[in-house]
């Protein structure tokens, strides 16, 4: 569906190529061997075209099974498209020679950090992929120090990952990616196993990395409150992209988001109901403090009136 992209990405430092360029991609998971032939399974992705610019922060929103994780896995050659093409900095993901380079450029953090932590010490884990790539010891040391500092876990470097909390382990996973100096980080539902406060911390780390290091971020989530900081929100449903716009535009139609089986955060629902009841609460108020000051303003207006 052609939805107008309101905030133009031209303000970003635009290189000739988008960082990740997906053209008319379709993908179906291979059927299990014993699957009956007469039962068709809908493809996970159908004719997706989508791109992420250098330094852009994109949120990929959709409920379970909408295809968002599949799309994320296509971005660094974990899955290869059935039709169409995925290019990362111009490199086709089907080119096996380039796959290693592509994965160094685009890193994924998954839902469960335990699936990607392997070493017995935090700093060893962060150094792991650098060691595999054959970097010299002083370089490894410098990069590990920087990566740990970037996510604020220098003090945990000599601890064992299994002794850390979920939020801390996710930070170790991010540091492991940062050590490779990627251009893009994909967070695939990486907050869904965390408690609410660690979740907020995780979002602010991503925002900060985007801001300080000009990293591209693709944040895959089903939680509306996590997409507020994105420059662009891409909404998926049944393997298709149904909307691509700024958070303000996406949040303007809450009814539609409900239809897409997403949970509306209560403060937003309250603002919507007050607006329908005739209160002047601006649609652009999305964060908690914005909504609070809008409601406060409306209350004051009513009193003087």
């Amino acid at each position: 569906m052609a939805q107008g992209r309101v905030r133009n990405t031209s303000s970003l430092s635009r290189t000739a190529l988008p960082l990740i360029d997906i053209q008319h991609v379709s993908y179906s998971y291979p059927l299990p061997a014993h699957h009956p032939h007469d039962v068709a399974i809908a493809p996970a992705l159908q004719d997706i075209s989508f791109s992420i610019e250098q330094g852009e922060y994109v949120a990929l929103l959709g409920h379970n099974g909408s295809g968002k994780s599949t799309l994320a896995r296509l971005c660094n050659a974990l899955l290869l498209p059935d039709q169409g093409a995925v290019r990362v900095q111009g490199m086709d993901t089907r080119d096996q020679v380039k796959q290693r380079q592509i994965r160094e450029c685009v890193g994924i953090i998954f839902q469960n950090p335990d699936n990607q932590l392997i070493a017995t010490l935090v700093e060893d884990d962060v150094a792991w992929s650098l060691t595999l790539a054959g970097y010299a010891a002083p370089t490894i040391r410098a990069r590990v120090d920087q990566a740990l500092a970037a996510v604020g876990i220098e003090q945990l470097r000599y601890l064992a990952p299994h002794n850390l909390s979920g939020g801390q382990r996710q930070r170790v996973a991010i540091a492991g990616l940062l050590a490779l100096r990627p251009a893009c980080i994909i967070a695939d539902e990486s907050t869904s196993m965390l408690d609410p406060l660690s979740r907020q911390e995780m979002v602010s780390i991503l925002t900060q990395l985007h801001h300080d290091q000009q990293l591209s971020i693709l944040h895959v989530t089903h939680l509306l409150e996590e997409v507020l900081h994105a420059q662009r929100v891409v909404v998926m449903e049944q393997g298709r992209i149904v909307q691509s716009a700024t958070p303000e535009v996406v949040f303007a139609d809450l009814e539609r988001l409900r239809e897409l089986r997403l949970v509306i955060p209560e403060p937003l629902a309250l603002a919507e109901r007050l607006r329908l009841a005739g209160w002047s609460v601006a649609r652009s108020a999305l964060t908690l403090s914005e909504i609070a000051s809008e409601i406060q303003g409306a209350v004051h207006a009513r009193r003087t009136w």
Binding site: H63, N64, Q111, S165, G166, S192, M193, D195, P196, L197, Q200, H222, E225, R261, L262, V263, P265, E266, P267, A269, L270, R273, L274, A277, W279, L288, S289, I291, A292, S293, I295, Q296, V299, H300, R302, R303
Partner: protein, 298 residues
């Protein structure tokens, strides 16, 4: 949907206590130095109610619930569950565990049989019940969680969705007819739809089977929807208990215990700080809306 919160008088008068914990302390002796994970806990849980234990990682929630079905014994103090003293030597733990069902985190990972029916029947069969009794119990349990046995009984668990598999695990416990049901982070990893369904069936179980439900969670929104009474643990101590209304009013304290208040309550807190007079007993979205529309005085 009934209002589960009822009249939340803070004087916690318990008529019929199903769980009684007196001066419970627990120490893990593993590791270099022994660690106290629970210190002098006193609480009572009323029969047929739904209550919640909340606390940050490492606050002692899991240690506490493991006392309720005898996986751990108290180092000091006493735990009495449905008349059974958990700490006493010679206690029939088997009988205790049939009465107290414990649903771990990600219970769907524990499904192992080739059909849904066989998986749910595993517990009742171990109880040496007759064939007909097993069949009736399995069918009732599956119907109760919204997976009619005729349609789902013969399917393999891996053909179901995540939310459905979790309900199969719940049915496996219900088939043992427990009087207490403990759920450890029951909604983690489920999407909005799976979550809403799971809650709906959980409420039904509470209403129809009069099972006492104990939720362990750090998701306050979930707790606000389901529980009538909250216990807040911090560093192994019971720091606060009360109805959701009174507990959520303590925004600052909850933050200091690393707990996040539900977003709506945070909004109300901000509004109060900005001088909008919102009474402290407002809890739900409907109440907030009605109050604001009904006229606010500052």
């Amino acid at each position: 949907m009934q209002d589960v919160h009822g009249s939340g008088g803070e004087a916690h008068s318990v008529q019929d206590a199903i769980i009684k914990v007196e001066h419970l302390s627990h120490r893990y002796d593993t590791g270099i130095q022994p660690q106290w994970t629970l210190r002098d806990i006193n609480l009572t849980i009323e029969r047929g109610r739904c209550c919640a234990l909340i606390g940050f990682n490492g606050s002692g929630k899991s240690t506490l619930i493991q006392h309720f079905n005898g996986l751990l014994r108290p180092t000091e103090g006493r735990v009495v569950v449905d008349g059974i003293d958990v700490g006493r030597r010679g206690t029939d733990l088997r009988a205790l565990r049939q009465r107290v069902g414990l649903l771990f985190q990600f219970p769907e990972a524990q499904l192992f049989e080739s059909t849904v029916f066989a998986d749910v029947a595993f517990g009742p069969r171990r109880m040496h019940l007759g064939r007909h009794e097993v069949r009736t119990r399995v069918q009732t349990a599956l119907d109760l969680v919204g997976l009619p046995h005729g349609e789902y009984g013969w399917r393999a668990p891996f053909t179901l969705s995540g939310g459905q598999r979790r309900r199969v695990a719940l049915a496996g416990i219900l088939a043992m007819s427990p009087s207490v049901l403990i759920l450890d982070e029951p909604s983690v990893g489920l999407d909005a739809e799976g979550r809403a369904e799971f809650y709906m069936y959980l409420r039904r179980v509470q209403r129809e089977q009069h099972v006492t439900i104990i939720l362990v969670s750090h998701d306050m929104t979930e707790v606000a929807m389901l529980a009538e009474w909250l216990f807040v643990l911090h560093h192994g101590q019971l720091v606060l208990q009360g109805s959701p209304r009174t507990v959520f009013a303590q925004t600052e304290e909850l933050r200091s215990w690393h707990l996040a208040v539900p977003p709506l309550h945070e909004l109300l807190h901000t509004l109060r700080q900005q001088g909008v007079a919102i009474p402290s007993d407002i809890l739900t979205l409907d109440e907030t809306f009605a109050f604001l529309i009904g006229g606010v005085c500052i």
